[in-house]
Symmetry: C2
């Protein structure tokens, strides 16, 4: 029944045509490949095999995550332990993009990020900060740490806040957790400013992945569990966007007022089977 | 020099006329009477005497605070220890107003408030919560507690969030601290909802103070350190609003894009002297 519904949506939105001209797939990670939680988290059933199938196909494959709790190296090592065939060069995440922006604009960040992410900023001058960078700091989003970031911002003549993503929440094995976007909104209100988002759904971020693949937007498909940041963000760049019913997916996503996925599937395994079947 | 500037502003906005027809004054507390901080905080120089002068005048006097870290009883006792002549019945704060709303609408709150405020909600049924109430929880605004409040809201079919005030920040003796409004914005974004604000600048809240005084808005003057919530809120109700240059006041308040105070004075003592001098 779900597949029928999906096929209808696809036909309606021209998916089959898209699938035939498709040259590359971009996968969100948390909520698509695995659910985070204690330890390494758990792989979502069928996802390890689905990645293998994509790699064995003629499609280009990249991973695009707003993960900011660890360096890419640590993060990819975790995925490898879970059984995924992934290498660091295939993964795009906000911290390296932020480092490039900071250096380009000569900005010295006060960091409010998870301890595991700090090494990504080793090469950046952090003395006498003139901007704030926040990531998914989780437990480090204490009242004290948020006050500290606020005081840096409010003390600047032109406060600049970078947010590594703007997600509302994500799902861990023990329940939903607030994501960085919530604290971005908090600091935006406190300081009466607008943050600059680095990561999904920033068009600059998606474009950097497309550039790396050498593809035009219409040749690529994004698969994610976040309707607004994965699906909507990719669509905003001219890509197709498919949502999986895993991770942070909620049934009400399918009647969202502004974002409609080009397809909704039960999980990554189903998405990959449908894409590959349509190409033969 | 400052006084001259002030006189000009007053003349320009018809203040002298207002002062003559004035029948009551409403004072904000934190940042006007005292600066909070370790222990009881410290009285702002001249404020104790200024309250005495107002009480000795023919003007009605009420205190209107968004303080939500303690019950009114505990809070007033602190002010009395600092030397202020204030009684509980003269003080309006958000928690008792919230209790009335909860009972009226049959709502059972999940509380994310400072421990000291919890007794205000003793008479309210809190089992199986169907709404969330947040106050200035300070250190209790941990990642874990905010996740908990978020999960209650996201689990409700029609999530209802009450915020006891919507302040951005306040000043303690050791620096600026984030206020409840910042966390209200965080939860609003996380759950895609609009909070109901109880306390300043809600017109209902100001009106309840005017009702208690038996005055029309044009007969009352609000004095506060918060340009938006004290001054703007009072003006929105038809009162005059004066800002003091103590507490959270910042020079840029005097060129705010949307709110212009009817007068700006160095401190409460100066405001009271000018009001009383003009009445003779």
């Amino acid at each position: 029944m779900r597949i029928e519904t999906y096929c209808f949506v696809m036909a309606d939105s021209g998916w089959p045509g898209c699938a035939k001209s498709l040259k590359g797939v971009i996968l969100d990670m948390c909520g698509v490949l695995y659910d985070s939680g204690e330890g390494d988290g758990v792989a979502i059933p069928g996802s390890i095999e689905a990645v293998k199938k994509l790699k064995a196909s003629d499609l280009l494959l990249r991973f695009c995550t707003n993960e900011t709790q660890a360096t890419r190296e640590t993060f990819v090592a975790k995925l490898q332990r879970l059984g995924f065939d992934i290498s660091v060069s295939e993964v795009f995440s906000p911290a390296p993009a932020a480092v490039a922006v900071l250096k380009e604009r000569g900005l010295r960040p006060h960091l409010l990020v998870y301890d595991g992410l700090i090494p990504e900023f080793d090469s950046v001058n952090k003395a006498n900060p003139n901007c704030v960078v926040i990531g998914d700091a989780a437990e480090k989003f204490s009242y004290q740490n948020l006050n500290e970031a606020f005081r840096v911002l409010i003390g600047l003549e032109k406060p600049v806040l970078f947010s590594l993503g703007q997600g509302r929440y994500y799902k861990e094995t023990d329940g939903l957790k607030l994501d960085v976007g919530v604290y971005m909104k908090a600091l935006e209100y406190a300081c009466d400013l607008k943050a600059e988002v680095i990561g999904k759904p920033s068009p600059t971020f998606f474009q950097s992945v497309l550039n790396d693949m050498g593809l035009q937007p219409h040749e690529a498909l994004m698969i994610g569990d976040d309707l607004v940041n994965d699906v909507g963000g990719a669509q905003h760049c001219g890509m197709k966007g498919v949502q999986v019913r895993t991770g942070k997916y909620r049934p009400c996503d399918e009647r969202h007022p502004t974002v409609t996925a080009d397809g909704t599937v039960d999980n990554l395994a189903q998405a990959v089977d449908m894409i590959l079947n349509q190409r033969h």
